[in-house]
């Protein structure tokens, strides 16, 4: 049956269902296939804090959004074009993210009395006309799945579990994607269980063929490959990229990586990922708590490894005292904080940027620590690599901020040429002649790294104030003040090592939108759109928060207005105002959700009206 084939530049699809419905899996399969086709893309998983929340409930809905296109894609999309809803709760929770006229694909079998009641529907929304402004397709997904694998005599539970592949198949058909990559994945993933392989593949095909043969769908779409920079790509999430950036720094520097970490959402995948790569000599130590996570990493750094600890907000709070120790010891250490909604346990699975001031200032006394922020999922690779480089070069702890959105979001990544990675030059002190543990490199102010095992360098370090050069314990007033200043100077001096900041757009104009971290994509999309409309607006995105790059002050001066959008109540705004004494307009959102580009666009319009 011939159907229309329409060309689209970009599409946003959201898969939604119970947390047990396999929506994350469906979404990531669609992502892989889409990436392989050469589309640019960005994804946003959105799942509940409960692992298997009660079926059918509103709070148990798990969603996965993918935005892909033949043009450059920087965000997971403001509004969806398609919503796949496996039950009434999924429909109810996600309807507000569907654009008017968008497509709903509803699993009619999931809209039974019990589920309707759980979602708070009096009447079935599939029948009452309330969805008229959308293109509604109700499909008996569960029934069709059952029929497709009837003869395999599988348990109802297994049949239930397969139905997400029916939705995936339909979407593959609708957006003209091949099923082969998912077939291969199913064969690999369930290879110990041939029946399940057979069932899932059959259901996937049934979904695909359903689109092809039934009359329900009138149109089929095509989204051509994007015009991406030539090279080899892969799809990568922020947490994977962070893990690999750390591994890359280990491989490049010739130092072993030691990760001391206590599991916490949304940082755990870094621990999982690194624990796989034993042949890189990575040692992952699942500690008894966050304090042991960081202190074991400090112990490892003292021994000459790259000590790393990974965590999220509540864990960072626990690491506070030990970060101060690392400042005093002047040992290299990387602390990765994948931010989530807070305070306290807060919104464990949601994103936020509210740990910025904690990272910059959150320690007792004067304890400066460089702070870096990753801006995109793939950008986590460079950020992690850079964090290690700075930690080693300056003998300092470094905090790398990521967030839940970056951690779980995926995008295509142009795989870097390993040889092109910046060299990481490490020197251990070995010469006992004139050795003083707190002598300093003139340029970087770093102290020597003298590791146990080196003959003749036996010495003692600790958290008590150190005498300049000798490193002996000192309570001398002048020495203390001198050392406090010296530690600050060392961290400030890192600015000399950072590339100058560049605006996207013009370097002068009416409005500069200044962001940091995971808001990069939304700000970029908004600013580009407004520039196309002729507005005088540019974008500056900070990867280095402490110290700031040297030219930030000069850039800010070149604009009439400064707008700082943040997923907090204005923490970067505070830092910029304090340092550069300029007025700043703020755009703040603290809903556990990333910015939509149109929220930033509206604010730009308001300022430049």
């Amino acid at each position: 049956m011939a159907k229309d084939l329409k060309k689209l530049d970009e599409v946003t699809i959201r898969f939604a269902g119970d947390s047990g419905d396999g929506m994350q899996l469906t979404g990531s399969q669609f992502t892989t296939t889409t990436a392989l086709l050469g589309n640019d893309l960005s994804t946003l998983p959105d799942y509940p804090a409960e692992i298997r929340a009660p079926a059918g409930t509103l709070f148990g809905v798990s969603g996965f959004q993918i935005h892909f296109g033949s043009k450059e894609i920087s965000t997971p999309g403001d509004a969806c074009d398609v919503l796949v809803a496996m039950n009434p709760a999924a429909l109810k929770v996600n309807l507000r993210s569907l654009r008017d006229g968008g497509i709903i694909i509803a699993n009619r079998d999931g809209f039974n009395d019990k589920n309707l009641k759980l979602a708070g529907y009096e009447i079935n929304p599939l029948d009452d006309g309330s969805l008229d402004k959308f293109q509604l397709h109700s499909v008996d997904i569960t029934k069709l799945t059952t029929i497709a694998i009837q003869d395999l005599n599988l348990t109802t539970k297994i049949v239930e579990r397969s139905k997400n592949f029916f939705s995936l198949g339909m979407m593959y058909w609708m957006y003209s994607r091949p099923i082969e990559s998912s077939v291969k994945w199913i064969q690999e993933k369930f290879k110990k269980n041939p029946e399940i392989v057979e069932a899932n593949i059959r259901v996937l095909k049934a979904g695909y063929n359903y689109g092809e043969t039934t009359e329900i769908f009138h149109a089929r779409y095509e989204v051509r490959a994007a015009d991406l920079y030539p090279g080899r790509y892969r799809s990568i999430t922020g947490n994977e990229a962070t893990a690999w950036g750390l591994l890359a720094a280990s491989a490049k520097s010739g130092l072993d990586l030691f990760l001391g970490s206590y599991p916490i959402t949304p940082a755990s995948e870094i621990l999982h990922e690194l624990s796989h790569h034993k042949n890189f000599r990575v040692k992952t130590f699942q500690a008894e708590d966050e304090i042991a996570g960081i202190t074991s990493a400090i112990g490892a750094s003292y021994g000459g490894a790259i000590g790393v600890t990974t965590t999220s907000g509540p864990g960072l709070a626990l690491k506070t005292e030990a970060m101060g120790l690392a400042v005093m010891l002047e040992l290299p250490l990387v602390i990765v904080n994948v931010q989530r909604g807070g305070p306290s346990t807060g919104l464990p699975t949601k994103t936020e940027q509210a740990d910025l001031l904690q990272a910059v200032h959150g320690r007792n006394s004067e304890a400066p620590i460089p702070v870096l922020a990753a801006c995109t999922p793939a950008g986590c690779f460079d950020a992690a690599y850079d964090a290690v480089r700075i930690a080693l070069k300056y003998m300092t702890p470094v905090i790398l901020l990521s967030d839940g959105y970056l951690a779980n979001g995926a995008e295509p990544w142009l795989i870097p040429d390993v040889k092109s990675l910046q060299d990481i030059d490490v020197k251990f002190r070995t010469d006992p002649k004139n050795f003083f543990p707190y002598s300093r490199d003139e340029k970087t102010l770093a102290r020597p790294w003298a590791i146990p095992g080196t003959p003749g360098l036996e010495h003692r370090i600790g958290g008590l104030e150190k005498e300049h050069i000798t490193g002996n314990v000192s309570y001398d007033a002048d020495n203390h003040e001198f050392m406090v200043n010296l530690r600050q100077q060392k961290v400030d001096g890192i600015a000399n090592d950072l590339p100058l900041a560049k605006t996207e757009g013009d370097d002068k104009g009416d409005l500069l939108v200044v962001g940091w971290g995971g808001t990069y994509g939304a700000i970029k999309t908004a600013v580009e759109k407004k520039r196309k409309e002729g507005k005088s607006v540019s974008h500056l995105h900070l990867k280095y928060i402490n110290p700031f790059q040297k030219n930030i002050g000069d850039i800010l001066k070149n604009f009439k207005y400064i707008l700082v959008p943040e997923l907090n109540l204005g923490q970067l705004s505070q830092l910029l105002q304090a340092k550069y004494l300029i007025p700043v307009r703020k755009l703040n959102k603290v809903q556990g959700l990333p910015f939509k580009a149109n929220e930033i666009e509206a604010k730009i319009d308001e300022i430049l009206k």
Partner: protein, 349 residues
């Protein structure tokens, strides 16, 4: 070969010359109060280390915070004075990163069992090869005399004017409960015993826990005198020797016998009991170790000192290295380019 192996490839693995105790004394003035029990423990450690045939540069002392935690400053080895309670975790990271080092922890009853209690039990269960010397003075020394988790019930201190309402920890039981593979108790005023325990701990592969009764003559003077002073000592301690019956008393006329699971003191003077009735110490007997450790909580029984328990089992860092070696054997040394390009990738022209 990683960078560390490379720079240390020529470092001697055994001492070039024979050390004496003096070689382990650092240039720092020892700042404990005169008469503090810490001095003796320091001296015995410095006396035993030369016997171990480990080069000084391969020895690290890690500590937390407290009077006792000043220990590393006084040792002419590598030393790391950490933060309160975290020595065991710092040492764990160091030992896992560098299994070839000889890593020691000096900690106090507050440092190791209060703020650091969590790290303490976890290092024991993991059996990381770290030697832990816990200076038990049953008081917070450095903060000037508050009661500690090992202070006796009802103890009157600055922070417990009406008596401590806390029931104390028994450090040996905590260690055994956490399945430490080596557990011993020593006395600051018994150098021979101390040396023996330190030597045994050094030889042990795995976490070696040594509780040292230590007199704080400023804030808790005499806490252990009944176990350490000439007049009372022999009747109040039983020195454990593997394979030997448990005899004690000034005249060696008392013994310990098991009735069911309960140890009782019997007299060897009259002919009712002989040596054959007594408990024979067996360092490998898990049940016996608990009985011995429990004796401190029971009135009328002597305090066991010496090596209570010593068994071999796999160490954490040994298992980690096994996994690394197996993985390298199977997949080859990690190749960054291979990692970045493995699995699903695509080329844009």
């Amino acid at each position: 070969m990683n960078l560390i192996d490379e720079i240390l490839k020529d470092a001697p693995k055994i001492p070039i010359q024979k050390y004496t105790a003096k070689d382990f004394q650092s240039d720092q003035d020892v700042r404990w109060c005169p008469g503090c029990g810490d001095y003796s423990i320091l001296a015995q450690v410095q006396r035993v280390l030369p016997e171990l045939n480990i080069p000084k540069h391969n020895i690290v002392f890690v500590s937390g915070i407290g009077c006792s935690s000043r220990f590393p400053y006084y040792m002419d080895t590598y030393g790391f004075h950490g933060i309160h309670g975290r020595a065991a975790a710092i040492a764990s990271g160091l030992k896992v990163a560098r299994p070839e080092l000889s890593v020691w922890v000096a900690t106090g009853d507050g440092d190791g069992l209060s703020i650091g209690g969590n790290h303490f039990i976890h290092i024991c269960r993991r059996n990381i090869d770290v030697k832990i010397i816990l200076f038990n003075n049953q008081i917070y020394g450095l903060t000037k005399g508050q009661y500690s988790p090992t202070s006796e019930f009802g103890k009157i201190t600055k922070s417990s004017p009406f008596g401590a309402p806390d029931h104390p920890f028994n450090p040996l039981l905590v260690a055994l409960g956490a399945e430490a593979s080596f557990v011993a108790r020593g006395l600051d005023r018994d150098p021979k015993l101390l040396q023996n325990i330190i030597r045994r701990a050094a030889e042990h592969k795995g976490t070696a826990f040594m509780e040292m009764y230590q007199n704080c003559n400023v804030f808790n003077d005499g806490a252990f005198f009944q176990f350490t002073e000439k007049e009372t000592k022999d009747d109040n301690i039983v020195v454990l020797e593997n394979g030997k019956p448990m005899i004690f008393g000034k005249e060696k006329d008392k013994g310990l016998k098991l009735e069911g699971f309960t140890p009782v003191v019997v007299s060897l003077k009259d002919s009712k009991y002989s040596i054959n009735d007594l408990i024979i110490h067996n360092e490998k007997d898990t049940m016996l170790s608990f009985i011995l450790a429990r004796m401190s909580n029971l009135p009328g029984l002597p305090r066991p000192v010496g090596v209570v328990y010593a068994v071999e089992r796999q160490t954490y860092e040994g298992e980690v290295m096994k996994q690394i070696d197996a993985s390298i054997n199977k997949q080859g040394v990690g190749d960054l380019e291979k990692l970045l390009t493995h699995g699903e990738t695509w080329v844009i022209k």
